[in-house]
Amino acid sequence: MKFVWKYVVILALLAVAPFFVLPPFLTHIGVMIGIYTTLALSMNLMLRIGQISFAHGAFMGLGAYGSALMMMRLDLPFTVAFLAAALGVALLALLVGSLFLRIRGVYFVLLTFAFGEIIVLTFIEWVSLFGGSGGLPGVPPPSLFGYAIGSREGFYLLSLGLAAFAFALVRTIYGTELGAVITSLDEDEALTRSLGIDSRRYRLLTFCVSAFLAGMGGALYGHYLTLVTPEDYGFWVPVNLVMMNVIGGIAQPIGAVLGALLLVPLPELLRDAKQYQMLLYGIVLILFLLFMPDGMHGLFSKLKGHLARRELSR
């Protein structure tokens, strides 16, 4: 387990960063990177079973609305609301998953896209619960072990913790037999089933874990922004998450982290070139898709000499 130490050291360095090194605004970006790493990792799970879900924006939204509403209306403590919201999303994934996961390929993408849009439109239409297009302002700040986390550094640590948890979770999943099963599901489902694997259950399990992470990412995002509005959870969220994985490299969970590290700050860094922001974003993605199908991680491993185990050629 030598490499675990490598991660613990990096984590410690990152945790200390905002207090000494990072200027406040970069701490803000740090929080966003933490949240989007969690979300990118949740999409990495779906990419691994070859079923891109476009409902992940809505799952993120349900996490945000759930956690906020449970704190604001049922005044549950943050930890309870946060976890209950994420579990709620996972439960929803369980319910719809058994129906949806039978569908494969592009049809699954279109199905989850339609399902996600219905949820977002419900946020807009069901004004009494979700507050309509304006959403829910005044989302209370999280509080852990009794003291409220209001400061940006506090959020930074929370977000870093969430990202670390997500990375550890996905990493262990891929590390253990479960990883081998999930990967085989997409590589050759018929062979995997013929060896005795109940592929439906494993797909459902992956979908629920992925939805759980998306719910948590959404919940923290809502508390951080102190505002939950439907427009933040639409169709572009899963698109961005897929791009982060494509650019970072789908083969390994670290790819999702690299993708988040690169893409989250992009709009902020290009802030001054307002219109050119999206242009560069689009062109960067096109170039990556054409010339580096395995993303940056693929590039790094090529540079390190050993061929990336998996081409994106599946």
Binding site: F100, F113, M243, L279, L289
Partner: protein, 283 residues
């Protein structure tokens, strides 16, 4: 329900435009297996061409409609050749590329034309009063031209050699290529024709509503619903899907509101994908 007739008429008029968009979308998917999320941007580019050529340079509107459609046809072929060729058959990568193209085209339009809603002087104004119903003349003109384009497309697909080749590729590319159909030709052609159809829709609708860089999103969404209703890759399906969506949307938008109308349409899409993924007119 005294305006039942008005609802039907409103619905049919929007159906024709939806069908035009859906045909392009389903052709590209049928042949290239690519869900073309950049389809809405073809519509948008054509609208901006109308704005630039008719609005600023004052060319004849009808000439510009044809010109912009052809321009989009060429642009579509070039797009396929340059960006989509490596992804033929690989649906997910193709889709992601389409998303990237969509972002880029929106950004370019934004830089060139800015964010605000622009308008184009309307070639046709006024209304037909038919009994209790009111039918805007320009919408009828758009409907008629869309019908003409649809018929031309149908004839092309049914009676020309290339049309036959395309339909063969939709069924099975490998077998088609055995019979001498060259995918290297058919793919850019399909993408081009798909983009041209969207271009037609965009140019025809440009004066009706306002023109802005993000105008492509809604029509693409509608084409997407229509194609799924009818069945991905199925041409008659796109026509049936277009009519269903147009009528349904008009009904709910009138009686309730547009949000609920869209929700109902998406609800049907979910049901169809779950229980009949190949759509109503399964191939």
């Amino acid at each position: 329900m005294e305006f039942a007739l008005q609802i039907v008429v409103n619905g049919l008029m929007s159906s024709l435009v939806y069908i035009l968009m859906a045909l392009g979308f389903t052709l590209i998917f049928g042949i290239m297996r690519v869900v073309n999320f950049a389809h809405g941007e073809m519509y948008m580019i054509a609208a901006f061409l109308v704005y630039a050529l008719v609005g600023s340079l004052g060319w004849n509107y009808y000439l510009v409609v044809v010109l912009s459609a052809l321009a989009l046809g060429v642009f579509g072929a070039i797009l396929e050749r340059a960006l989509f060729r490596p992804f033929v058959g690989r649906e997910l990568q193709g889709m992601i590329m389409a998303l990237a193209v969509s972002i880029t085209l929106q950004a370019v339009a934004f830089i060139l034309f800015g964010p605000n809603d622009l308008s184009v002087p309307r070639p046709i104004t006024g209304v037909f009063d038919v009994g209790p119903m009111v039918i805007p003349r320009d919408r009828v003109a758009v409907g008629a031209s869309a019908l003409v384009v649809l018929l031309a497309f149908y004839v092309f697909m049914r009676y020309t050699k290339t049309g036959l080749a395309m339909r063969a590729v939709v069924q099975d590319e490998d077998i088609a290529s055995i019979y001498g159909v060259r995918p290297k030709i058919i793919h850019p052609l399909a993408f081009g024709i798909g983009a041209m159809l969207a271009g037609f829709a965009g140019a025809l609708m440009a004066p009706i509503y306002t023109i802005h860089p993000y105008m492509g999103a809604q029509p693409m969404l509608k084409a997407f619903i229509v194609v799924i209703l009818g069945g991905l890759g199925s041409v008659p399906g796109a026509v049936l899907g277009g009519i269903i969506l147009g009528l349904l949307e008009s009904l709910f938008a009138t009686l309730v509101n547009t949000t609920v109308a869209t929700m109902v349409c998406f609800g049907i899409v979910v049901l169809i994908l779950l229980f009949k993924p190949t759509g109503l007119l399964a191939r």
